[in-house]
């Protein structure tokens, strides 16, 4: 006890105990488990100082210094995200430390103690230059929003340690030189005691920054999750109100700009037809806009991102040739840029890009990671909207087709004049998505009928409207008008300009006189009238001049008169009959139809029709019906 008190009054022992208590307090107060490794510092110092009192040896200080350096290096390696980079930056410091530890007994050092301090100052200046330089921002990234992860706390600590390591002994030597301190031994004790202070600051800095860094990481993840949830909520609300793609993209860029702290942003979508991107939504002054709302895929930064299909992050755009190769208007004000392609199943739909302007802080890896996550969600949402619109369009068409089919049934003639029973047979079958065919038969008098067969282009309700108009004009004109060319001309004048030109119609109108056995026909670009001549057992095609109905109001139509004999057959059909394909893709063809007709020519019209339909069904098999089919047989008695 008598010697214990004087021993404990040694300044360096007091300092070491203080450091140990400081370390324990830092761990307890901050719950900084990452400081456990740094506990080696006060323990080594305390051990050294106790041993120096009871078992003094010159090697104690160099050995303890080596162990201290090893503890610091181990801690740095364990907690730095870039240990190799940090260790390489500390190489000079380690070198200087080596000289300090092992070189102090060298004669050149013994006689020039200022040399050690000069080395420490050089090391400090090197560390400042190394970590303060612009290109060292991989380690130091000052941000107005606080420290970012990635080595900055370690760099700050290293700078502080360097400064303390050289400034404290420098101050002591200056004090000695100017006579402010007198005893070398007192100075040495004080120097060793004060050397604990930098360690305390290091522990304090590690405690605060370390927990701060852990909190920053947790906060970063939490922040990203919040941003994603905000985006999801925003887009879900927009989808409920209005599934318009431009609104979706507008809300998306708004969220992206806010979440990333960008100064401006834009969404571009790839064109379906051209090698270009078009601007669909924007925020702020994005470079190059609004002077150009389309960008070519080749030769522009955004275009190259779309072609490459990979996200690109340029922290320093002005130094990157990918940006500087072709700087758009306003591009020189860009400090850093992030561009992420909107991709679904390897298909690039567009690109979302955000920029920060010069004068502020550049983007960090965190914003890059966040935007990649957000853009994945945006891409799938946009893709869902496109698919949804396709479904809506199909549903709309299906509804239209169901309506058209119902109307179609009501347009067809419900019954035929009885005297025609032995002369005429007709069938018409509508395909699911088409319903373009139309036929009508009007009795002019007791031996004369007018027959109209046609095919309206397109699908949906528009062709139905065209047929309603044609039917109305037809029923108005016939009777008394019996001139087929005149009838077609009137129909054409009534239809042209009323409906869209793409719903033009091909029509065949013929008048059959059973007494004179004559047909007068006029053809508006429909399939030719087919006549089977019984006496020659041959087929004849009859057509006249005339454009399709609904194209040119002034179109002229010809007419032909054909004399028939008993047993002759007139066949009017639409192209769906002869173009119907079997499962192998082969068409039924006119040749096959005429072969069947020739074989059944002796039969009454209904039997002929039955045989043709049977043969047709045999050809088509299970292949789906893709076009309407109408076939009318008129047999001269």
């Amino acid at each position: 006890m008598g010697t214990f008190a004087p021993v404990m009054m040694q300044p360096r022992l007091v300092a070491s105990v203080f450091l140990l208590l400081f370390w324990i307090l830092a761990i307890v107060r901050r719950r900084a488990r990452h400081l456990l490794l740094l506990g080696g510092i006060p323990l080594v110092l305390l051990t050294r100082d106790v041993l120096q009192v009871f078992l003094p040896h010159a090697a104690l200080f160099p050995i303890s210094d080596i162990v201290l350096i090893a503890v610091y290096l181990a801690w740095l390696t364990a907690h730095s995200p870039r240990p190799a980079l940090d260790l390489s930056a500390l190489a000079v410091t380690i070198l200087v430390a080596g000289v300090l530890v092992f070189g102090r007994s060298l004669p050149i050092v013994l006689h020039n103690s200022w040399l050690l301090h000069a080395l420490a100052v050089v090391d400090f200046l090197y560390l400042s230059a190394r970590f303060g330089a612009t290109d060292a921002k991989t380690i130091i990234r000052p941000s107005g929003k606080g420290w970012s992860a990635g080595g900055q706390p370690e760099a700050e600590m290293i700078l502080f340690a360097g400064s303390a390591a050289c400034l404290v002994p420098l101050a002591v030597h200056l004090a000695l030189a100017f006579g402010w301190l007198s005893s070398q031994q007192a100075v040495t004790s004080l120097l060793i005691a004060f050397s604990c202070i930098p360690h305390a600051f290091l522990i304090e800095a590690a405690a605060g920054r370390g927990t701060g860094r852990s909190e920053t990481q947790a906060e970063a993840v939490s922040g990203d999750l919040e941003a994603l949830c905000a985006l999801m909520e925003e887009l879900e609300g927009t989808l409920r109100e209005d599934a318009a793609i431009d609104r979706i993209l507008d809300r998306s860029i708004d969220c992206a700009v806010r979440s990333s702290g960008a100064d401006a942003g834009a969404v571009f979508m790839v064109s379906d037809y051209e090698d270009s991107l078009s601007l669909r939504a924007g925020r702020g002054a994005f470079p190059g806009l609004p002077s150009a709302t389309t960008l070519p895929l080749a030769g522009t930064f955004i275009g190259e991102v779309a072609r490459g299909g990979a996200a690109v992050f340029l922290p320093n755009a002005a130094a990157d040739p990918r940006w500087t190769r072709q700087i758009p208007v306003g591009g020189k004000d860009v400090l850093s840029i992030i561009a992420v392609p909107l991709t679904v199943k390897s298909r690039v739909m567009g690109v979302l890009a955000v920029v920060r302007a010069i004068g502020g802080a550049p983007f960090a890896e965190r914003e890059f990671r966040l935007l990649r996550v957000l853009c994945g969600y945006i891409a799938h949402t946009a893709d869902s909207v496109f698919s949804h619109l396709d479904v809506l369009e199909r549903k709309g068409i299906e509804l239209e087709q169901e309506t058209a089919s119902a109307i179609q049934q009501r347009l067809l003639p419900s019954s035929l004049p009885r005297w025609l029973d032995s002369h005429l047979a007709v069938y018409s079958q509508a395909a699911k998505e088409v319903i373009g065919d139309y036929y009508d038969i009007l009795e002019i008098n007791d031996h004369r009928i007018g027959i109209l067969v046609g095919d309206v282009a397109g699908k949906g309700l528009q062709p139905i409207l065209a047929k309603i108009m044609i039917r109305a004009i037809f029923h108005l004109l016939v009777p008394p008008e019996r001139d087929p060319a005149a009838v077609l001309s009137w129909i054409n004048r009534g239809i042209t300009g009323t409906l869209n030109i793409e719903h033009y119609a091909t029509l065949m109108f013929l008048v059959y006189d059973a007494k004179s056995r004559e047909i007068i026909c006029s053809n508006a670009a429909h399939l030719p009238l087919l006549i089977y001549r019984k006496d020659r057992d041959a087929f004849q095609k009859v057509t006249t001049e005339g454009l399709p109905i609904g194209i040119d109001r002034k179109a002229r139509f010809g007419a032909k008169r054909i004399r028939l004999s008993a047993g002759d057959i007139a066949i009017v059909l639409t192209d769906g009959v002869i173009e119907a394909m079997n499962p192998d893709g082969q068409q039924y063809s006119l040749e096959r139809l005429t072969r069947v007709l020739r074989q059944a020519a002796q039969c009454p019209p209904h039997e002929m029709l039955r045989r043709i339909r049977a043969d047709h069904a045999q050809h088509v098999g299970v292949a789906p019906l893709v076009d309407d089919q109408t076939l009318l047989l008129l047999k001269v008695g």
Binding site: G458, I501, E502, T506, L547
Partner: protein, 119 residues
């Protein structure tokens, strides 16, 4: 059906490939509408790679022809062959639609028409 656009001077060549039918005709109409909105009204439709055309495809060509007239533009339809030619002949529209033999002829005609308009 694929649609590719190529600019040539003040005209746009619309290259179609595949089937121009009931299901794809609407896309051609969309493209010409977008071009018209961008004040591009001189079109050359290239049918060289079209393998099939039905009445809806013909309707889309007629629609484009009508649009050209409304916009006071110019239309040429080039490389009409095979089944496409048969269908157009069947509908007697060969003389009605502005059909030319080749893209080169179309370009030459459109250039001549432009010179006439400017003189």
């Amino acid at each position: 059906m694929d649609i590719k656009l190529k600019r040539y001077a003040s005209a746009c060549i619309i290259e179609l490939s595949g089937e121009l039918d009931l299901y794809n005709a609407g896309r051609l109409k969309e493209v010409v509408a977008k071009l018209a909105a961008r004040k591009i009204t001189r079109w050359i439709i290239d049918l060289d790679r079209v393998t099939y055309i039905d009445s809806s495809g013909i309707g889309a060509l007629l629609h484009t022809h009508a649009m050209t007239r409304r916009q006071e533009g110019q239309l040429r339809i080039a490389n009409v062959g095979g089944t496409v030619k048969k269908v157009i002949e069947l509908t007697k529209l060969f003389g009605f639609l502005p059909i030319v033999e080749s893209i080169q002829e179309a370009i030459a005609q459109l250039s001549g028409a432009q010179q006439e308009a400017s003189s």
